[in-house]
Amino acid sequence: MNLTSKEKKAFILPSILALILLGLLIYNHHTLSLNQKIQLELNQIQSNIFSGQQTLSSIQKIAGKEKLYAQYQLDQWIPLFHNLLEVKLFIGQKVTSGLAKVKGKEKNLLWITNETPKPHSFLIGQFSLEAIFPSYLACQNFLKEMESSQPFLIPQKVEIKKEGLKLESLFTFSFAFRMKDEKV
């Protein structure tokens, strides 16, 4: 069947509208799929934000204990030295200052053994100290000072003998320390 020109003209408007509708349909389909992608992305981001916030909250909880852990900082308890001489100087100074506080007198300070490696990456050194104290109280305070002040010395042996009015004593202490290159 051949269409007349009037019939052809009659189909122009519906055809144009159909094309517009088709275009809109395709556009909306595209928009919808884009929206779906965005929704997925949003869900992903929200999940990330949630887990991030949880992590942050956990970190903040842990950070609250920072002070607690800070007081056990390794440097305060097991100091770091560059070489053995520094260690000996440090020990000498600690002992001298401790004796001076109690009016004790150093007779001999002897480095007994070199450091022994410990499993937790620090070293232990041992030394002996001969000293004279004016009283038992002075001797006792010196021991307390050595054992309590940071970094502390660990007494291995204590010998106290009465010699006239004074007390002669012999201590063996061990001392934990770290070397920068972990070697002597």
Binding site: I38, I49, V158, E159
Partner: protein, 481 residues
């Protein structure tokens, strides 16, 4: 469809003369009265109004009555096409025709259906339609005066033989109906002088013809568009001459608003006649009209869908905008959180390092003996007149061998404290008493696990030795909890 409209435009084309009237709620107004040769392509006076055309061209338009037995297995369309081609002596492609059922009757004992056919040659009528299109008219139906009169006669629904007489100036149309079914039609012209006698004569001829052909006498005659003389005295004369009752049916000539539209008055007076009439509009034009109506309906539907689609598009667009904005906000929030986490991560790493360090420190602190506490407590345990000469703790001195080695050799080095002293008293009882007082105080001390002693020289020289096995003193650190 046309019958339901309140406004209608009717055109009456007789030879070259065109008259158009607008019918509105029973009132009639002439809108055009012209000659067809006065119409040119630029004479558009209408704006696409729909109009019904009554084509009064007796030479060009042919009518025929066809009868077919009922019920009959006949292909009516093909039969009519064949009849039309015979009638017009032309192939159907050159013709425009239409047919309609006009009634049924018993013919020699057989029931017959009667159909009215109208036909014309395309080339003779289409130029007229083109000219009418120049006026800006949209012709929706073409019919003929004969068809209108046949329908009018049918609607009178007469019993037996009847006649319908219609006056149109000097022309008189006489239609014969048998039991309401159209039989034949005659048109005759009345002369100026003695026209009444001529009329009676012509009618008598028609009566005779009807009786002869249809074997049915005419029992009643109806007159349409009756002129004044018929209304006054002609009616009685005719009744006397013909011997049948005569009825004048409206409209009568005197009451016509527009006498010049002649037979069109019949239709205007009764617009309900229009729907069943033949439509001699060319098929392609009818199809075009159908296509245009379909196109408008389709366009309207599409416009509605387009509107809905635009709303949907707007909603989608808004949702997309909102989601994009939300996405940007959440992205920024996530980035900020990630920066914060990065900063916190450094802190976390530092804390982790501290925790690791604190574990090492903890191990180290566990090594601590707190032996100074024992030395602090010891003076409070010694009674008066008891003096200590030496205290040894830790690795045993070679000068002070222990006569009774501890059961657990592993703990001896760090747990054994050897105390050597003297009781300053001359009385042996007091010596023992003070020594055991001291020993008892040692035993009950919280940091001593057990003790043993040597008192060989206690009685003679007042000297004694106590070996005290110490408990381990743990540091009570928050860290250890």
């Amino acid at each position: 469809m046309i019958g339901r409209r309140k406004k209608k435009l009717f055109l009456y084309l007789q030879e070259q003369s065109l008259v158009g009237v607008k019918w509105e709620m029973g009132k009639v107004k002439k809108v055009i009265d012209t000659q067809m040769d006065q119409i040119y392509p630029d004479t558009q006076i209408f704006r696409g109004e729909e109009a019904v055309l009554i084509l009064d061209k007796q030479k060009e338009i042919q009518h025929q009555i066809l009868s077919f037995p009922t019920p009959g297995k006949i292909n009516l369309k093909k039969l009519i096409e064949y009849e039309v081609q015979s009638l017009m002596d032309a192939p159907s492609s050159e013709l425009v025709y239409d047919y309609r059922f006009i009634g049924s009757s018993q013919e020699e004992g057989t029931s017959m259906n009667f159909y009215l056919i109208g036909a014309y040659r395309r080339k003779e009528i289409l130029p007229w339609l083109e000219k009418l299109a120049w006026l800006g008219l949209n012709i929706t139906k073409i019919t003929t005066p004969l068809d209108i009169l046949i329908e009018k006669g049918r609607k009178l629904n007469p019993k037996g033989g009847s006649g319908l007489m219609v006056f149109e100036d000097l022309m008189v149309h006489f239609l014969f109906f048998r039991n309401g079914v159209y039989g034949f039609q005659r048109t005759f012209e009345l002369q100026e002088e003695g026209f009444q006698k001529d009329l009676i004569l012509e009618l008598q001829r028609s009566f005779f013809y009807a009786k002869q052909k249809f074997k049915l006498p005419i029992e009643k005659v109806s007159i349409l568009l009756a002129p004044e003389w018929i209304v006054k005295e002609g009616k009685i004369e005719l009744e006397e001459a013909l011997g049948v009752p005569i009825e004048i049916i409206p409209p009568v000539y005197l009451e016509l608003w527009l006498p010049e539209i002649k037979l069109l008055n019949t239709l205007i007076n009764d617009v309900a006649l229009l729907p069943p009439l033949l439509n001699l509009l060319p098929a392609e034009i009818i199809r075009e009209r159908g296509v245009q109506k379909f196109s408008w309906a389709l366009s309207f539907t599409e416009l509605v869908i387009l509107g809905l689609m635009l709303i949907w598009t707007y909603i989608n667009q808004e949702a997309l905008k909102r989601d994009l904005a939300l996405l940007q906000i959440q992205n920024r929030q996530l980035q900020s959180l990630q920066v914060n986490l990065q900063n916190q991560q450094e802190k976390l790493n530092f804390i982790r390092k501290l925790i690791e360090e604190s574990k090492i420190v903890k191990t180290h602190i566990k090594e601590k003996r707190n032996i100074y506490l024992v030395f602090e407590a010891l003076p409070f345990l010694i009674p008066e007149n008891v003096y200590l000469e030496s205290i040894t703790w830790g690795s045993l001195s070679s000068e002070q061998p222990t006569p009774h080695p501890p059961p657990n050799l592993g703990e001896s080095a760090s747990n054994l404290m050897v105390l050597q002293g003297k009781v300053d008293s001359s009385a042996p009882e007091e010596k023992y008493s003070l020594f055991f007082q001291f020993l008892k105080a040692m035993e009950s001390s919280p940091f001593i696990e057990r003790v043993n002693f040597q008192t060989e020289e206690l009685l003679s020289q007042g000297k004694f030795q106590i070996n005290a096995y110490l408990k381990r003193i743990e540091s009570n650190h928050e860290f250890n909890q």
